[in-house]
């Protein structure tokens, strides 16, 4: 029988919400393979987070914890040790979770130690042994058939619904493994402080590109973003030019987003940018160049200068809010 294990990330004793689509993908794999779902919580003291997760259950047969001081702060080295240990101890056949920077870092390392193939950025569980993933900037969907005792996967967060709570389960602590960081030191993460929702979780994303010309001009996009309760994004051209921090980049090498509304302002629409946002429900493109490739995938195309269009759009939205 198959046993599917999801590697979860927690913060402040709670599950990080970006992990929920990965649980859904794992549920689908468990269903397709006729197996059980298991959840793993790693950390220096994962008990509190694990019990909160066990309350929610998510249809799992068990929640497991693995505690070791070396698991915090996150390092791929120590996490891969822990993941390998858990897979061997529990007899796991499938291991994965949402494709976050954490799992993209640690999971291939663990998979290599186990001679396991890893299917990256799964968008669909096609059958028990075949998974679909995008390639070539999302311009093609590749089906990968796997054949190995242990198979690893990361799930693209935008392609699976967040898992819903259901059926609480028990927590069991796995005996402590030998984990170590191989002499690395993590000197902390410099976070971009923002009161806005996370780019990958926001219902509305407003992104600016090269045509914004300079960082100061993003102020007006921020105004629009906040009015809509959304998150601010950018194209690579804008982040490379230093207009906004790199972690706002949407695209093949940045964040993959799929909000209800994506507003691309002064973005030409390179393939690499489209790869990061074309799953959005409604796409609006505002660009003064009518030849811009972004218009080919936009639901609503407006050929206009942002300097004129955005203030007017803000005004209309404000007027509507005032009237409501």
């Amino acid at each position: 029988m198959s046993k599917v294990l999801v590697i979860l990330e927690t913060a402040g004793g709670q599950l990080r919400p970006h992990c929920l689509p990965g649980i859904t993908c794992a549920q689908e794999i468990a269903r397709a393979t006729g197996g059980e779902l298991h959840l793993l919580v790693l950390g220096a003291d994962p008990a509190a987070a694990a019990s909160a997760i066990a309350q929610a259950g998510y249809g799992a047969a068990g929640v497991h914890t693995l505690a070791a001081a070396a698991l915090e702060p996150f390092t791929a080295e120590a996490w891969a040790d822990a993941i390998v240990h858990a897979i061997k101890t529990l007899g796991i056949t499938h291991v994965g979770g949402t494709a976050s920077s954490t799992l993209r870092d640690a999971l291939p390392r663990a998979a290599a130690v186990l001679d396991a193939p890893l299917v990256s950025e799964v968008v669909r569980v096609k059958s028990a042994d075949t998974f679909t993933r995008p390639v070539s900037s999302g311009r093609a969907l590749l089906d990968i058939k796997v054949n190995a005792p242990v198979v690893a996967f990361t799930a693209r967060g935008t392609e699976f619904e967040p898992a819903q709570p259901g059926g609480s389960v028990a927590v069991s602590a796995l005996p402590g493994p030998q984990v170590n960081t191989r002499g690395v030191q993590v000197k902390g993460v410099q976070k971009t402080e923002s009161s806005r929702p996370a780019l990958t979780e926001a219902k509305v994303v407003v992104s600016g590109g090269r045509g914004m010309k300079e960082g100061a001009n993003f102020k007006i996009l921020e105004q629009l973003t906040d009015l809509l309760g959304g998150a601010l994004g950018a194209s690579r051209a804008a982040t490379d030019a230093g207009m906004v921090p790199a972690d706002l980049q949407v695209g093949q090498t940045g964040k993959i987003v799929a909000p209800d509304l994506y507003i691309a302002v002064a973005i030409s629409g390179a393939i690499q940018h489209l790869a990061g946002m074309k799953g959005s429900k409604t796409i609006v493109a505002i660009n003064k160049d009518e030849e811009a490739p972004i218009f080919q995938i936009a639901d609503y195309s407006l050929v206009a200068k942002w300097e004129e269009a955005i203030p007017k759009l803000i005004e209309l939205i404000k007027a509507r809010k005032g009237a409501a």
Partner: protein, 272 residues
Amino acid sequence: MKILVTVKRIPDPDESLKFAGGGLDYSASKWVANAFDEYGVETALRLAEVVGGTQRLAEVIVLSICPEGQRQHMTQFLAMGGDRGVIVDADPDKLDTVAVSKLIAAVFKKEACDLLIAGKLSQDNEGNQVAQRVAGLLNLPQACFAATVAWDQTNSALTVTREVDDGVETKRVPLPAVLSVDLRIVLPKSVSNGSTPATHAYNEGPRLASLKGITMAKRKPVAVLKPADLGVTLTTTEAPAGVSAPPARKAGQKVTTVEMLFDKLTKEAKVL
């Protein structure tokens, strides 16, 4: 120090894809170097050279797994400034990632390297896993998705900033180690080796091969190995089982005024 850099050739990512017979037809494609591998080689060269001096701090070995007869990209990377090449003669499309990672790890060990540099992903397959896997196989520390790297020669360590979902993480790894590079590694001041003056700003992006570099590249040694020479047994833990085009988006509409856009968004799309 010995730096091993992995490179591969890919179908030109700017050409449109041709779907044929349940797969992709690359028979008429132009083949180019994977951009992230160019960033990897540029990183290695910036670590190895001393700008303003003649000293070389590291040997840069370029590794590609490719059919021996399709090695133009190897010549290109040697022309950029790599010191020598290693080719593992095999068709990478017929290898699984398990085997590819083992081949790279085997070359790293055989050459007794101190640092592996790999692009974060290849633009065609987008697996984003080879560097991490090789680090696991070699039991070495890893620093993936690097945006900047600083080499502390005295203490034989790298300080790397990595782009993670929440921001930028600073990680210090002792050598030997494995590094995967993201695109910002080729900004003017992303790489420092402690010997090139800290004030030096590189041109943005990977360097172009000079005419002299191109001439010299033809004389640089390139070793050709078979997978069996490296003691690696090839596996088939994964295989492609079909390719399809993603569902097309429904055709969009042109709006001529901001008022019209606002009207569509509120009444038709109902997203405002």
